[in-house]
């Protein structure tokens, strides 16, 4: 990840109220988002803005007095790290010469809560796409269930392939509106083909086992049977 533009001050203020602020680089910890480094962009950014780091300190029993120092202590047995960091760029010593830096720390008694907070900040305040976050963080926070495409696209990929194959096999799709060759018809209204694909996918998903049924029908009775099944599904949807 590389900084592009600073977060809006009002967003920062709202999100970070109650966090402990330090004018220091982030302590050691685990970064929750992919931390790329594009030197030129970082330099350009640092010439104008502060680098900001959020550090969620996991302190289950409230024993940490100095949150910053606690990050330097070995992690507890039940956690991969004591400190989890979200920042525009992974901190390096060389940045100390060029960049002003602010680190915000907050104590969390629950790792999941800590990670969720950083995830929220990254996605909603900084506009980072979910796939930029580490898969472990997405899993731990339950985000994979909320938005599955962030974690695994294999199910979507299967659906895409199935629906495309169905559309190709289905005579109805091929002899649609203009009555010309299906290949051409599909492309006629831009995006129309995709919308139709999405529609049939919705039917498949909602039908619980419809996809398998469609496959079986396609294998057993070919295009005509498939067409009849499609009509059935359409009736169910309306």
């Amino acid at each position: 990840m590389t900084p592009l533009e600073p977060a809006r001050p009002e967003d920062l203020e709202r999100f970070l109220s109650g966090w402990e602020r330090r004018e220091a680089p982030p302590p050691p910890g685990v970064y929750v988002a992919a931390a790329g480094y594009q030197r030129r962009l970082v330099e350009e950014y640092c010439a104008r803005y502060h680098l900001i780091y959020l550090v969620a300190v996991y302190d289950r029993d409230g024993a940490c007095r100095d949150l910053y120092r606690c990050c330097q202590a070995p992690p507890p047995a039940e956690a991969p790290s004591r400190c989890f960091i979200f920042g525009d760029v992974e901190w390096r010593e060389e940045l100390a010469e060029r960049c002003r830096v602010e680190t915000y720390l907050y104590r969390f008694g629950d790792i999941r809560e800590a990670l969720k907070t950083l995830l929220e900040f990254g996605m909603h305040v900084r506009g980072i796409p979910c796939t930029d976050f580490s898969i472990d963080v997405l899993n731990a926070t339950g985000w994979c269930e909320v938005d599955p495409v962030c974690c695994d696209v294999s199910a979507v990929k299967e659906r895409i392939i199935e629906s495309a194959a169905r559309r190709r096999a289905s005579p109805a799709a091929q002899h649609a509106p203009s009555g010309v060759d299906g290949r051409i018809t599909e492309g006629a209204p831009s995006g129309g083909g995709e919308a139709a694909g999405g529609g049939s996918e919705a039917g498949g998903a909602g039908g619980g086992g419809c996809d398998a049924l469609v496959r079986r029908v396609a294998e057993a009775v070919g295009a005509e049977g498939l067409d009849r099944l499609k009509s059935c599904l359409c009736r169910r949807q309306t």
């Binding site: 796409p129 895409i160 495309a164 599909e186 995006g191």
Partner: protein
């Protein structure tokens, strides 16, 4: 999911003729993402993606010359639409990183729609 895996896995699906035909927008966005420049400012224009689209068509088995021409036209139209949307969002010459994020957001939106 690591982005490289996500993109590769879906691009593999776009190498099927029926998928490239039925999900042109998705395939166009994937191709654009796969062919992002590494750094610096990007001049955002559809023709920059002509060669990647041609390469994809080469990988699709069983296409006649006419099929290729038709599919090329459809995919380039999808690329053109995506470029127009992105220009509205990030401007005509965004930084590579800005463009990457905007493209990724659209890609995820499209996947959510299809899921």
């Amino acid at each position: 999911m690591p982005q490289a895996d996500l993109i590769d896995s879906l691009l593999e699906a776009c190498r099927r003729r029926e998928v490239a035909e039925a999900h042109r927008r998705l395939c166009a966005l994937l191709l654009m993402y796969r062919n992002l420049p590494g750094r610096g400012a990007v001049y955002l224009r559809p023709t920059a993606y002509r060669v990647p689209v041609q390469r994809l068509l080469k990988d699709i088995a069983g296409l006649t010359g006419e099929d290729k021409r038709v599919l090329m036209q459809k995919l380039m139209r999808a690329v053109g639409e995506a470029v127009a949307e992105l220009r509205r969002e990030v401007g005509g010459a965004p930084s590579a990183e800005n463009l990457r994020r905007a493209l990724l957001r659209r890609l995820l939106e499209e996947l959510r729609r299809l899921a």
